[in-house]
């Protein structure tokens, strides 16, 4: 549904085109856009190519124009050609609440209609791709898409797709900084105590 642009970024690096490299790196970033859609907004489409690697969590309307950008830096004869495209009818963001007996309980929020109330769903882990299954844990984030997949041969198939976020990892220096800088509420009381005890 989207491109892992790592390959293209590598090519851009080789060609020393820093502005394009920057642009492509944006797409390679694990942060996706969670935009608000008006109820009548046009449907979102995603293009899938035969050569594209497994789904990355990058989801953006700009995915449609990426093949052209990427192709400029692909070796001759290895150009990406759209094979199928995905039209999202519904799109939710979810967080895993509980995993029990290969069933996932998750809270979801409608990304196309932000006024919708929070929902909870349960789904079997079998619904996930093999590469996403190790990512399932309490507190993991994912996107759930339902829509039509238009194949290259003209066939239209209804599809559901769970895509788990590759979340960044905690770094030691970040944890150390938190420990240094966090201020407990008790400080307010302790400081007061110090003030009162001062001769």
């Amino acid at each position: 549904m989207s491109y892992d642009t790592t390959l293209a970024v590598d090519f851009a690096e080789e060609s020393a085109d820093s502005s394009l490299k920057k642009e492509l790196e944006q797409f390679a970033s694990p942060v996706y856009e969670s935009r608000v859609f008006e109820p009548d907004s046009t449907l979102e489409t995603y293009v899938q190519t035969k050569e594209s690697p497994p789904f990355s969590p990058v989801l953006s309307k700009t995915d449609e124009i990426l093949p052209q950008k990427i192709n400029r830096y692909m070796p001759k004869g290895a150009k990406l050609k759209p094979e199928s495209r995905f039209i999202a009818l519904r799109k939710w963001e979810g967080v895993v609440v509980e995993v029990e007996n290969d069933v996932c309980l998750a809270r979801i929020r409608d990304l196309m209609r932000e006024d919708e109330a929070e929902e909870e769903i349960t789904f079997p882990i079998d619904e996930l791709s093999k590469s996403d299954r190790p990512l399932v844990a309490k507190g993991s984030l994912f996107i759930w898409l339902i829509g039509y997949s238009d194949k290259a041969n003209g066939q239209r198939i209804r599809e559901s797709c769970f895509i788990f976020r590759r979340l960044p990892s905690w770094k030691q220096d970040e944890i150390d900084k938190i420990k240094r800088e966090s201020r407990p509420l008790a400080d307010l009381l302790n400081d007061e105590e110090k003030t009162l005890l001062r001769p």
């Binding site: 909870e120 789904f123 984030l141 905690w170 407990p184 009381l189």
Partner: protein, 373 residues
Amino acid sequence: MNFANLEAPKDDEIEVSIFGPGKGECVIAHLGNNDWIVVDSCVSRASKKPIALEYLESLGIPPDQAVKLIAVSHWHDDHIKGTSQIVRTCKDANFVCASALLQNEFAQFVESYSKRFMSQKYDSGTNEFAAITEQLFTEYAGKRPYPKRLIWAAANKRLVVWDGGARPFPVELYSLSPSDAAFSLAIAEFRKLMPQPGTPKRQAPSLSPNIVSAAFWIIAGNFNILLGGDLDKGSNRDLGWRAVIDSTARPSGRASIVKAPHHGAESGYYAPMWQKMTEPDAVSLIAPFSGGVRPLPSDKDIARIKKHTRKIFITADPKGWSPKRRDSAADKFSSTVVLTRRRVEGQMGHVCVRIPRGAKEMQIHLSSGSKSL
């Protein structure tokens, strides 16, 4: 929201109101003399305001003058949402929370998980607690001596006494928990829950079982009110309700109004609490929790409480609501993919208990989907 067309209670009238939309709860109590307390908070989906503020305004009462105390039983999102706004609005009100939440370990936990989670749509309560902390630090900044706004809740601690003057009756407010053992254990648990290098930045984990919740006891004239928070039964006699019951220092008497602990769930049920601390047929108030693996309270949970009282009132149906159907093709297809799907928040329900001075019977007002069980 329609609050059963209620008018403001009279100065000598006691009121205990509970609100709950299915996920979240708020208790607001009038303790005479236009003095109100707010325990826990949830937000109205329509107005996006804390329901406590919306309710007081609907009665024509300015919250900044009327609310004298704001308490959070614990930091979970279903109990704390909107509290920072109440703290900001009601600047003269005391803020009460469990002692463990004031310590360095919890501050580090909150700092780790608020704002750093990749989605701001989901708050396990850490963002809201961070907002409260920020507010208190901001208003305390540079002031010497600090205003006495912050109060620690701990086992058997008398938090405030209101007496004298024009008051129609004296009021005392106690915290019954967390116990000293729960405090130590919670500190150790918060240390364990701190993120580890190399692990993904997931949503904040929760502390389970809930040993750190504060429960409150209110003495208002001749009436006692027990607000059970989410306090767990306790795995040993030093924790949870077992510690409360075993304590010889807790206030005596029996409550005629009870906010059932932990949404009426089995984990918060301890028979001696009902037998020793509540009157037979005490008015029992429940705000359900429609999220989670098992929505609370279950039929079994209700049957268990019914052994102690026939007067149970709930703010909403615990089983949740069906999702709105917007796109038939997508919705039908989604039901073939997921095993279950439900909305966990519906209309805000309200149960209002009023005790006019000298009245023998309590008046119960039900509105917006709340019902008697």
